[in-house]
């Protein structure tokens, strides 16, 4: 059960029940669809980038608590960041979740992710890593203006 408490931290449960920035931004200059074919979760991400800065970001879609909270907390973390900063954050987030089992993320690493560090517990649930990264893969697709939906597969 301790692992489950690590996974479903209060901040994650809060964001899953009350997702922030959960709204369509039809006029946004970047958007992409994300799809986790394994579980059927779908996400639509809208990103407004002005002069290299993410000035607004929103998402719509249904998913599990982990994927909804991840999308919510990602949008919160990215607003006001530059595209380069967003990319760097994704790399650190991804490493925290998918690093080899013998290289546990350091406390500094987790702390540097601020609130996103709450997802460190997902490491222990390999089948759920894709839930936590779906929004981020969709962000990559949106920033690169990929026409095909981002997929976790």
């Amino acid at each position: 059960m301790s692992d489950l408490r690590e996974l479903y931290q209060e901040v994650i449960l809060d964001h899953s029940k009350h997702p922030r920035n959960s709204r369509a931004l039809p006029a946004a200059n970047h958007h992409a669809d994300g799809h986790n074919p394994l579980c059927g979760d779908r996400l639509k991400l809208y990103v407004q980038v002005d002069n290299g800065v993410i000035s607004d970001i929103g998402f719509t879609g249904a998913g599990c608590a982990i994927s909804t909270a991840s999308a919510s907390m990602m949008t919160e973390a990215l607003k006001g960041k530059t595209v380069a900063e967003a990319e760097a954050l994704f790399q650190r987030f991804h490493h925290m979740l998918t690093g080899a089992p013998d290289e546990q993320p350091s406390e500094d690493e987790v702390e540097s992710l601020d609130k996103l560090g709450a997802f460190a517990g997902v490491r222990e649930f390999p089948v759920r890593v894709k839930c936590a990264t779906l929004a981020w893969h969709t962000l990559q697709a949106a920033l690169k203006d990929q026409p095909a939906p981002a997929s976790t597969e």
């Binding site: 489950l4 479903y8 394994l38 579980c39 979760d41 998913g63 599990c64 608590a65 839930c131």
Partner: protein, 422 residues
Amino acid sequence: MTTTAPIRPSRPTSKPPRFDAAAIRRDFPLLQQKMRGKPLAYLDNAATSQKPQAVIAAIARYYNSLNANIHRGVYELSADATEAYEKARGKAAQFIGASDPREVIFVRGATEAINLVASSWGVVGIKPGDEIIVSALEHHSNIVPWQMLCQWQGAVLKVIPMNDAGELDLDAYAKLLNHRTRMVAVTHISNALGTINDVERIATMAHDAGAKVLIDGAQSVPHLAIDVKVLGCDFFVFSGHKVFGPTGIGALWARAQLLEAMPPYQGGGDMIASVTFEKTTYNVIPAKFEAGTPHIAGAIALASAFDYVNNIGFDAIAAQERDLLEYATGQLSSVPGLKLLGTAAHKAAVISFNLDGVHPHDVGTILDGEGVAVRTGHHCCQPVMDRLNVPATVRASFAFYNTREDIDRLVAALGRVKEVFG
């Protein structure tokens, strides 16, 4: 060493023989192990079944003492392996009520069997404008091969709709049937919802319209005594791993004259009578459809699974599973916020449900933490999910080795979900 199920032959009474679940469970080594420090409550039998020691031993015995390629060697070992493989074919035929073992083609599983029929029968049996009917309850494996065939041949796919309970609308089906209908491919039991379809009636109606009938028996073979003659179908397919046998082995049954008229599915060794660069003549059935070295060990071990199931008997299995279904339905119905999906009057021991406000994947992860293994997701039935307007469900599916205690643990674990999600 082999173990046998501790069930006496059925007595001539209406009461099924007493079912010793504890003894049965001891036959399944995997059920003895702990998951996440807790005893395993394995409730994902619609995905795959666990294997009795007798099946595991049959695989080891084959590789320890019988391994040789079949239908080839003149030496004794090869002849013995061939005999065991063909004996397994006979047992498979018997298990589904087929009188002629030549009508059983060993394949990888139900999926390959359906692809075989779509590729082989389909390309000669289907012309542009012809119609193929499937149902709203189908697994992707009984949809996609027909969609592919429709694309190749310019045919049209039609779908028998279902009601909110997950029962097929046979009045609508009657309206779909017409002189262009060539094939009706339906599942015997829905893997996602547990609905048992009236396949005999579906087959009769199809035949009256002049169409062939394929029944997907992947979910029925482990739970019901099958007699393909009574079902009245033209093709019947199933997977070994769902009926307590190994993965990678299954069977297609079809009437001999149909198989004889069909072109080969794959080319290669064993499926030929003679080969020259100018002309190849094909072998007779069933070899015509079994190109290459088959899963010999799998077929032999599958026969052991049939022996094991026959030894328990379908009367006892049905009684046990009926008890599990009734008990689980009652217990789960009393869980606050739980909604059952699939409430057909005629149902197998499969229960799909959702918990209000909690995504099935989160339910599955928390149940896993309690040692309860269920399937969560779309169950390879996205059209069923779309029809019920849910992205996914939690599914508990039972086998005869499950107990009321497994269900109590499922219900208790659902309480943990409430604790985490409030």
